[in-house]
C-alpha cells in the first residue's frame, strides 16, 4: 500500500526525516529513484487516485445537525446589528443614539465614542502576516469606505437590534471620493510586496526590447476584470463571550489558528486566552481567511456589555468589510519568431487597494513561469480607492491574470494561424523559466493530450464562426490552468489506541472542501485502517495549531502534518514490536516491518510473520502510542518549482441576436500530485469551474461613482449561476507521483478549476463569434455591441 511504500522509501533514504529524503532526491532524479524501487512506484501508482469515500460529515449536514457559527446560542446572549457608513471618505462628526436606546430591549450602542480601547491596535505596526488587514474597530472617527461598520446596536432580540440600528443617526464631514478602477488610474503606486511574500513585485528576464525587435508577429491588448465579492453562502457570523480574561469565539473562519493569534494580538492578550471554534463553515473562498473587523467587534461588544454577543452579517454588509477581488487593468504584449516560439512577453497589471491598507492582486505572477520565453517583463501597480481592502478570492491574481494571459496566447495563436493547443505545446516550459529551477513534477503534456482527446478538440475547425446549432453559433476554446503548491505550517497529534482506533487532533477547519474527511483518510491509510476507525478532533484552537484553509494549501500543510505524525507513531509501533520478545516480529529489522490492511504489522519478506497493532499495544501496557509533529516546508522550495497544472476545454453557444451565451460543455484535466479522495477532489474542481463560468459571464460588483456605494449588494443583483445556468461539466485527474512537494504528496485543487477556465470560455466565445471579449464579465449587452 502506498503509505507503507512511502515508509520504505523514507527508511531507504537512511533517516526518517524529510530533510534526508530531499537530500537524496536531490542527487538522483525521481525517475531513477523509481527504477531503483520499482515496487514502490507501482504500489504508489495504485493510490495516486485515492478512494472516493463519502465525506465524514455528510450525514450531519444532510440532517441539519451540523452547527454553523450563527447556530450557536448562549444564555443571556445579545444580538448585535451593525450600522454602516453611508459615505466613502470623511469623518463622523456626530452619532445620535438616543432614539435607538429607547427601543425596548436595546442594551447599548457601541461606537468609537464608547468602544473598549484595544491594546494591540497600532496602525503603524503592521501585522506579522502580510494578508492580515487593517481593521475598523471603532478606535477613531474616520470613514475610509462606504459600508464600513461605524456602530453596533446590542439588543435582546435580532428584531430589536435591527430596529435600533435603523434609528442611529450619523452625521459626517465628507471628503472627495477616490474611485476604484477603471477610473482613478492617475494615482498609481508600486506595492511594497505581493500577498505571497516570495513573489517579486516586478520582474525582468532577458531583454524585452530585443525580443520584440527580433519578432515577426506581435500583439498588444488590454484586458480588464471587475471588482468581485466572494459571497460564500454562509454570511460571516460569530458568537463571542468572556469568562474573566478568557475569550471564547464561535467564529466562521477559514483559519482558526490565525484568527486566534490575530485576536490575541489586537486585544493585547496571550493567545492561550483566546479560544476559536469553527465546527462547520459555510464556504469562504478567501473572505473568511483573514480576520476582518467584525471578528473584533463581537468580543469588544461582549466586553462592553458583559454578555455573550452574536453578530451575523447581513448579505449587503458582505460587500465591503470582508474583502473583495480587486478589479484589474492588464496590458499584455506577446511577440513570436517564425517558428511560433515566444520571443517576448510583457504583462503590466494595475489593480486597486483601499486607501488605508495594501493588498496587491498578483495578476502577473503566472505569466512569469507558464511558457518558455527568453525576454519577459512583468510589473504590478495599484491605485488607492475608498473601498474595503481587497483580499484573496479563490485564485487571487491567478484567475484574472491567467484570463488575460491565456486570452492573449489564444489571440497570438489565431494571428499565427496555429491551433491554440499546438501553439501552447510549442512554447512548453520544461523548467520554470522564472525561478530557473526544475519542476518537482509537471504532467501538463498529459493533461493536454488526455483532455483534448476526451473533449474532441480535433473536431474544432480552425476558422471561427464555422459551427452552428439553430439560432446559436457554437465555439470551442481551451486554456492552460495552473496553481502553485502552497504549504503552511501545521501541527498534528496522532494517537493509536490499544483498541486499534486512531485519534487525530489538529485545529484545522473544514470550509466545505472535505478537509475533515481527507485528514481522516490520510491517517487511516498510514495504519492500514478504514476511515471509520479514525476519529478527528478539529475545528477548535485547543488542538495543535494548523494552517489556514486558503491558497489550496490545507491538505499539503495539515495533511502533511497528519501524515508525518501517523508515520511517527507507526515507527514507534515497529520499534516496540522488534524489541518485544513476545512479538512474532521480535528482532526483525525495522525496515522489514510493514503495515498491512486491517492494522496488521508484518514481516515484509515473510508475510506469515506478524501481528495486529492491537495485540502489540495490549501486551505493552495497554497504553496508546502517540506523536505530535510540526510540519513545514523544507529546502525543497529553494530547489524546485512546485505547481499543479491542467488543461481546460470549453464549448459555448451564442445567440448573436439576443447576446445570450451558454456554456454547453466544460472539461478539465488536472495533474495535482496525489489525489487523496477522488470524489471530493473531482467535486472541488467542478465547483471551481462553475466559479469560472460565473466570473466569465456574470460576476461584477458595481460602484456608484458618486459615493462608491455598491449598487448590487445582494444576491438578486450580484449574479452567480444557479443550477439552470449550468450544463455539462466534467473534470478528471492525471496520475502524478510527486515525492518532492510535501509528505502528503499533494498539490492544491481548490483553485485550479477556476484559473484557466475563464479564458477557455472567452476563447470559445471568440471561436463562436469571431470577436474577442477582453472585458469581464462577458454579458449579453457586450456580445451584442
Amino acid at each position: 500500500m502506498w503509505v507503507a511504500s512511502r515508509e520504505l522509501a523514507t527508511r531507504w533514504c537512511v533517516a526518517n526525516s524529510r530533510q534526508a529524503l530531499s537530500l537524496v532526491l536531490d542527487k538522483i532524479s525521481t525517475l531513477v529513484w523509481c527504477l531503483i524501487q520499482p515496487m514502490t512506484f507501482k504500489n504508489m501508482a495504485k493510490k495516486l487516485l485515492g478512494d472516493p469515500i463519502n465525506r465524514v460529515d455528510g450525514a450531519l449536514k444532510a440532517t441539519g445537525r451540523a452547527r454553523y457559527s450563527a447556530d450557536i446560542k448562549r444564555p443571556g446572549m445579545l444580538h448585535g446589528v451593525l450600522v454602516m457608513s453611508t459615505i466613502a471618505n470623511g469623518k463622523i462628526t456626530a452619532i445620535d443614539t438616543a432614539d435607538a436606546l429607547k427601543v425596548p430591549g436595546v442594551v447599548n450602542v457601541m461606537s468609537h465614542q464608547n468602544a473598549p480601547k484595544l491594546a494591540g491596535m497600532d496602525k503603524n505596526k503592521p501585522s506579522e502576516i502580510a494578508t492580515d488587514r487593517v481593521l475598523h474597530v471603532f478606535q477613531d472617527d474616520l470613514v475610509h469606505y462606504n459600508n464600513q461598520p461605524i456602530a453596533m446596536v446590542l439588543a435582546e432580540t435580532l428584531e430589536q437590534a435591527t430596529e435600533g440600528a435603523s434609528l442611529v443617526r450619523v452625521t459626517y464631514q465628507t471628503q472627495p471620493v477616490k474611485l476604484p478602477l477603471p477610473a482613478g488610474k492617475a494615482d498609481m503606486s508600486t506595492p511594497k510586496q505581493m500577498p505571497r511574500v516570495d513573489d517579486q513585485v516586478d520582474t525582468k528576464r532577458g531583454d524585452l526590447a530585443a525580443g520584440l525587435a527580433a519578432a515577426i508577429n506581435r500583439m498588444e491588448e488590454t484586458y480588464t476584470t471587475p471588482t468581485m465579492n466572494h459571497n460564500a453562502l454562509e454570511p460571516h457570523a460569530l458568537l463571542a463571550y468572556w469568562e474573566g480574561d478568557k475569550l471564547t469565539m464561535y467564529n466562521a473562519t477559514q483559519g482558526i489558528s490565525g484568527c486566534q493569534k490575530r485576536v490575541a494580538e489586537i486585544f493585547g492578550m496571550p493567545k492561550e486566552n483566546v479560544r476559536v471554534i469553527t465546527q462547520f463553515l459555510g464556504g469562504g473562498f478567501g473572505s473568511k481567511g483573514t480576520t476582518f473587523s467584525h471578528v473584533m467587534l463581537a468580543p469588544m461588544a461582549a466586553k462592553l456589555t458583559g454578555k455573550p454577543v452574536r453578530l451575523v452579517l447581513k448579505r449587503e454588509q458582505m460587500f465591503g468589510m470582508v474583502g473583495n477581488r480587486s478589479a484589474t487593468v492588464q496590458r499584455l504584449n506577446l511577440a513570436t519568431g517564425k517558428d511560433g516560439k515566444l520571443l517576448a512577453t510583457a504583462h503590466h497589471s494595475i489593480t486597486q487597494t483601499s486607501d488605508f491598507d495594501e493588498f496587491a492582486e498578483p495578476a502577473g505572477t503566472i505569466t512569469r513561469m507558464l511558457y518558455a520565453c527568453p525576454n519577459l517583463d512583468t510589473t504590478h501597480k495599484f491605485i488607492r480607492a475608498n473601498i474595503g481592502t481587497p483580499a484573496p478570492m479563490r485564485a487571487p491574481g491567478e484567475a484574472p491574470g491567467v484570463f488575460a494571459l491565456e486570452s492573449a496566447i489564444d489571440e497570438m495563436a489565431a494571428q499565427l494561424r496555429m491551433d491554440p493547443l499546438a501553439f501552447r505545446l510549442a512554447n512548453y516550459a520544461e523548467t520554470d523559466p522564472n525561478k530557473d529551477k526544475p519542476f518537482s513534477s509537471k504532467s501538463l503534456r498529459e493533461c493536454y493530450r488526455q483532455g483534448a482527446e476526451r473533449f474532441g478538440w480535433s473536431k474544432r475547425p480552425a476558422q471561427p464562426r464555422s459551427l452552428k446549432n439553430g439560432n446559436y453559433l457554437r465555439g470551442m476554446g481551451m486554456a492552460t490552468t495552473v496553481y502553485p503548491m502552497n504549504r503552511g505550517e501545521s501541527t498534528a497529534l496522532v494517537r493509536l489506541k490499544p483498541d486499534g482506533t486512531v485519534q487525530v487532533e489538529t485545529a484545522t477547519q473544514d470550509l466545505g472542501t472535505g478537509t475533515f474527511t481527507i485528514m481522516t483518510q490520510i491517517a487511516a491509510e498510514v495504519f492500514g485502517l478504514s476511515p471509520d476507525q479514525v476519529t478527528l478532533s478539529a475545528g477548535d484552537s485547543i488542538y495543535p495549531t494548523s494552517s489556514v484553509s486558503g491558497g489550496s494549501r490545507n491538505t499539503a500543510s495539515t495533511g502533511s502534518a497528519v501524515t508525518q505524525a501517523a508515520q511517527e507513531v507507526l515507527k514507534k509501533a515497529r520499534q516496540m514490536a522488534l524489541k518485544d520478545p513476545k512479538s512474532p516480529l521480535f528482532n526483525v529489522a525495522e525496515a522489514e516491518i510493514v503495515v498491512q490492511k486491517g492494522g496488521q504489522l508484518q514481516q515484509k519478506s515473510n508475510p506469515k510473520v506478524g501481528e495486529a497493532l492491537t495485540s502489540l499495544l495490549k501486551r505493552n501496557g495497554n497504553k496508546p502510542l502517540e506523536a505530535t509533529v510540526q510540519s513545514k516546508q523544507g529546502d525543497e522550495k529553494g530547489k524546485y518549482s512546485m505547481n499543479a497544472f491542467g488543461a481546460v476545454f470549453a464549448e459555448v453557444e451564442v445567440d448573436e441576436l439576443l447576446g445570450e451565451v451558454r456554456v454547453t460543455r466544460l472539461l478539465g484535466s488536472f495533474a495535482a500530485g496525489r489525489i487523496v479522495n477522488l470524489k471530493t477532489a473531482r467535486s472541488q474542481v467542478l465547483g471551481g469551474m462553475v466559479w469560472a463560468v460565473s466570473m466569465a459571464l456574470h460576476e461584477k460588483t458595481v460602484f456608484d461613482p458618486r459615493n462608491n456605494r455598491v449598487m448590487n449588494a445582494n444576491l438578486a443583483e450580484y449574479h452567480v449561476p444557479v443550477n439552470a445556468d449550468i450544463q455539462e461539466i466534467d473534470g478528471f485527474f492525471i496520475e502524478e507521483a510527486d515525492d518532492i512537494v510535501n509528505p502528503a504528496g499533494v498539490k492544491g485543487i481548490g483553485e485550479i478549476g477556476v484559473v484557466g477556465t475563464v479564458s477557455a470560455i472567452a476563447n470559445a466565445i471568440y471561436h463562436a463569434t469571431g470577436r474577442r471579449f477582453r472585458d469581464l464579465p462577458i454579458t449579453v449587452d457586450k456580445v451584442l455591441a
Binding site: E159, S166, L658, E660, M711, P721, D781
Partner: protein, 289 residues
C-alpha cells in the same frame, strides 16, 4: 433584515377586509403572496402600519371558465398556473411566462393578482395581460368594478386600485380559434427580472390574415406598455417577414426604457425588436398549429 413593526390582520371575508381598509386607509397594505411586499418591508422601503393578509378569504383561489371568460382568482399562485390544464391549452403563453418568473419557491407563494397589483412594469404578467386584453375586477365596500388592463396601471407602484379596494379577479376573454400566444424575456441569468420582455397573442384566419394582435412589453417603459403601433401593423395583414419586421421596429421605437445595470437604452430597444420578432413568429406558429 427585519421589517419595521406593524399590525397584522387576517380577515376571513372581503367585508371584514374592507372594514379594515377603511380603518387604516393609506397605511394598510394587502398581503397575498408577499414576495414583493415583504422584501420591500424588510428593506424598509415600505413601512405600512397594517398588513391585511387576504389568504384566509375563501373563493379567491380558483381558475375557472365561465362562457367566454377565463377567470383567475386574486390568490391563484404562479405554481397553480403552471398546472392549470384548461388555461394552458387556450393560452400557452402562461407556460412560457410562469417558468421565467423568479423560481419555484417564489412561484409557490407569488400570485398572479399580486404580480399585477404591485404595479411594477418589471413584472411579467402586466405585459401578458395586455397581449390577452384582460380585465381586472376590483372590489370595494360599495361593489365591484371591472377595469380593462389598459386603464389599470397609473404609475410606478400605482394602479387603479383605491386604498379601500382589493383586486379580486382577472378576467381574460377566451380566444377565437386559430389563436396563439407566446412570451419570452431576456434575463441575465435564470430567475432574474426581465432586461426586456415581449408578450404576443395573435389570431390568424383561414386566409392567413391576422385578425387579432395583442402585444405587451415588460420593463422597457415606466408603465407596462402595449405596443399599439405594432399591433396595428399586423391586424388585417398576412404575417410575413416584412410585417413582422415592421411590428418589431415600432415596438423598438415606441418603448421608453431606462439605462440601468441590465444595459443602456439602445441595447434594450434592440432587444425589444429581436424579442418581438421571435414572439410573433412563435405565436403565429402556435395559432396555426
Amino acid at each position: 433584515m427585519i421589517a419595521a413593526d406593524f399590525n397584522y390582520e387576517a380577515p376571513t371575508s372581503l367585508d371584514e377586509a374592507f372594514t379594515l381598509l377603511r380603518k387604516y386607509g393609506d397605511e394598510a397594505k394587502i398581503l397575498s403572496g408577499g414576495h414583493s411586499l415583504i422584501p420591500m418591508m424588510k428593506l424598509r422601503f415600505a413601512s405600512p402600519e397594517c398588513i391585511i393578509d387576504i389568504n384566509n378569504i375563501p373563493g379567491l383561489s380558483d381558475i375557472t371558465r365561465e362562457g367566454d371568460i377565463m377567470k383567475i382568482g386574486a390568490l391563484v399562485r404562479e405554481a397553480q398556473v403552471e398546472h392549470a390544464a384548461e388555461l394552458l391549452e387556450h393560452f400557452p403563453i402562461f407556460a412560457d411566462v410562469t417558468k421565467l418568473i423568479a423560481d419555484p419557491q417564489v412561484r409557490n407563494m407569488g400570485t398572479v393578482g399580486g404580480n399585477l397589483a404591485h404595479g411594477d412594469a418589471a413584472n411579467d404578467h402586466p405585459a401578458v395581460m395586455m397581449a390577452l386584453r384582460a380585465s381586472v375586477v376590483i372590489a370595494g365596500a360599495d361593489g365591484t368594478r371591472v377595469v380593462p388592463i389598459d386603464e389599470f396601471f397609473f404609475g410606478f407602484y400605482s394602479t387603479a386600485i383605491q386604498p379601500d379596494e382589493i383586486l379580486t379577479e382577472i378576467q381574460i376573454p377566451m380566444p377565437s380559434p386559430y389563436t396563439g400566444s407566446a412570451y419570452h424575456k431576456l434575463e441575465r441569468k435564470v430567475g432574474d427580472y426581465a432586461t426586456a420582455g415581449v408578450a404576443v397573442q395573435l389570431t390568424i384566419d383561414a386566409n392567413g390574415i391576422c385578425t387579432y394582435a395583442g402585444i405587451g412589453l415588460t420593463n422597457v417603459n415606466p408603465l407596462p406598455m402595449r405596443a399599439a403601433r405594432s399591433e396595428e401593423a399586423l391586424v388585417g395583414k398576412k404575417i410575413t417577414d416584412e410585417t413582422i419586421a415592421e411590428a418589431a421596429r415600432y415596438a423598438s421605437d415606441d418603448c421608453n426604457p431606462s439605462a440601468d445595470l441590465r444595459g443602456d437604452v439602445e441595447y434594450k430597444r434592440a432587444m425589444v425588436g429581436v424579442l418581438t420578432k421571435r414572439m410573433i413568429h412563435k405565436a403565429a406558429q402556435r395559432a396555426v398549429a
